[in-house]
């Protein structure tokens, strides 16, 4: 990429940049004491940061404007291999995404090691640490694939349907069989997941379950819409609508689009990052960069990109999972 520009040309006639009448072939003084390639990588990352910031600010704006928002602890409480069932109530809030964050942070650390070995012109070291970085990145992608698959095919979230609603009032559920109030409480601020009739939803079952019909139904105690989502009914016990019977509604529509859009855009960065890491890993292994004698600068540049991917995840993790 920038190998040509990295060659330092000693030229007495143009040593002073202010006397370059000799033509266009000056430029032996590098701006900011760095190479063209690294400088442009920094500016690319700056522009990419603005793209991500635009997405995340849109998320924040929509979230602030909504009367309620799915609580992350309730939405992201599952883990592969049924690990979440080992936790109280079958909920493992944020455990899996924390593991994903660790994968990315560790791969960032191994990337720094690869760059350090590159600076010492140690080919074996570069290849070894880049390989670990690739494994970390691929592991992250695998985790994200599991997370998406769980949200889409188990919990039935799509970019336009958000089955994670949040109560804004206190009250009690109605019994689905009889339509009479039960002593099963609902609390303002608690997030619920609307299940699909006749499908497993991946959570632990307790006791006998009411069998909901799969066809659209409007019973006194529940409603099944034409797509099969079960909306339970509840009796409101405080606020303006005290005494009213309400039906569970879908959560804010934008949630699915924002989640899949933003984590998808980040995941795509990870995917391309893994691709470029592999290419540069193979080049490094076959001695392409050793011949350039510039301290494996290409490894340094992909390193900047890889750390940036980790940096963006810090903020995606912050707004989607932590807050």
């Amino acid at each position: 990429m920038a190998a040509d520009t990295d060659i330092f040309v000693e030229n007495e006639a143009h040593a002073d940049p202010h006397h370059s009448e000799g033509g266009w072939d000056g430029g032996d003084k590098k701006p900011f004491a760095t190479s063209y390639g690294k400088l442009m990588m920094w500016y690319f990352l700056l522009s990419d940061a603005f793209t991500f910031a635009g997405f995340l600010i849109a998320y924040g704006t929509l979230r602030i404007s909504s009367p309620s928002w799915p609580v992350p602890d309730a939405v992201f409480a599952t883990a592969p291999f049924g690990i979440h069932n080992l936790f109280p109530g079958g909920h493992a809030p944020l455990i899996f995404v924390t593991f994903m964050s660790f994968l990315l942070i560790i791969s960032s650390g191994t990337m720094v090691r690869a760059v350090q070995e590159g600076a010492r012109e140690n080919k074996r070291g570069v290849v070894f640490w880049m390989l670990l970085t690739v494994i970390g990145g691929a592991g992250f992608l695998g985790c994200q694939a599991w997370e998406w698959n769980n949200l889409i095919s188990v919990e039935h979230m799509t970019i336009t349907t958000n089955p994670f609603g949040t109560y804004v009032e206190n009250g009690v559920y109605l019994d689905p069989a009889t339509g009479e109030p039960t002593d099963e409480k609902i609390e303002a601020g608690k997030t619920y997941l609307m299940h699909k009739a006749g499908e497993s939803h991946g959570e632990g079952h307790e006791g006998e379950h009411f069998e909901y019909p799969t066809a659209a139904t409007d019973a006194p105690g529940y409603m099944v819409d034409d797509r099969g989502y079960i909306h339970r009914k509840f009796l409101v016990q405080d606020g303006f609508d005290e005494g009213a019977i309400k039906t569970q509604a879908f959560g804010p529509v934008a949630f699915g689009a924002l989640f899949f859009g933003i984590t998808g855009f980040h995941g795509f960065h990870v995917l391309t990052g893994v691709g470029f890491l592999l290419i540069i890993l193979l080049n490094a292994g076959s001695g392409v960069y050793a011949g350039r004698k510039n301290g494996y600068e290409m490894v340094e540049k992909i390193g900047l990109y890889w750390h940036f991917v980790d940096l963006v995840w810090v903020f995606v993790f912050l707004v989607f999972y932590l807050l």
Partner: protein, 139 residues
Amino acid sequence: MADHLSYEESKTAVWKGLGLLAAVTVIEVFLSLLKAQDWAKDFQPLFIFLALLIIVLSIYKAYFIIFEFMHMAYEVKGLAMTVLLPVFLLLWGVIAFFYEGNAWKGNREKIQDRNRIESVLDAPNPVGAIITDEDYIMG
């Protein structure tokens, strides 16, 4: 980590940095779970304090990644400034858009309140009194 350290020192610096980032992440997750407890939710100032603390820790992680892992601390000042200063433009973006989002929420609540008032006033003859969302252009 940089030229000012020996190879051995810079190697340990990486693992120390990694440990720091991991520790900060664990603290963040702990605070986030704490914040989601019922008693924290009911006590608004604590909830906001914990949320702000998590944001500050995340910004610290970002600072550490940029300055140490990405080597920004050891670049020429001009380079650091041309990359970092434009980011501060986003501060205004955050303030302006979040203010706007809050205003949309306010509008929604106002409409809901008016609907409630009118539904009470016109209870015997509610025809024509119900303001639907279509009567207002939101945002």
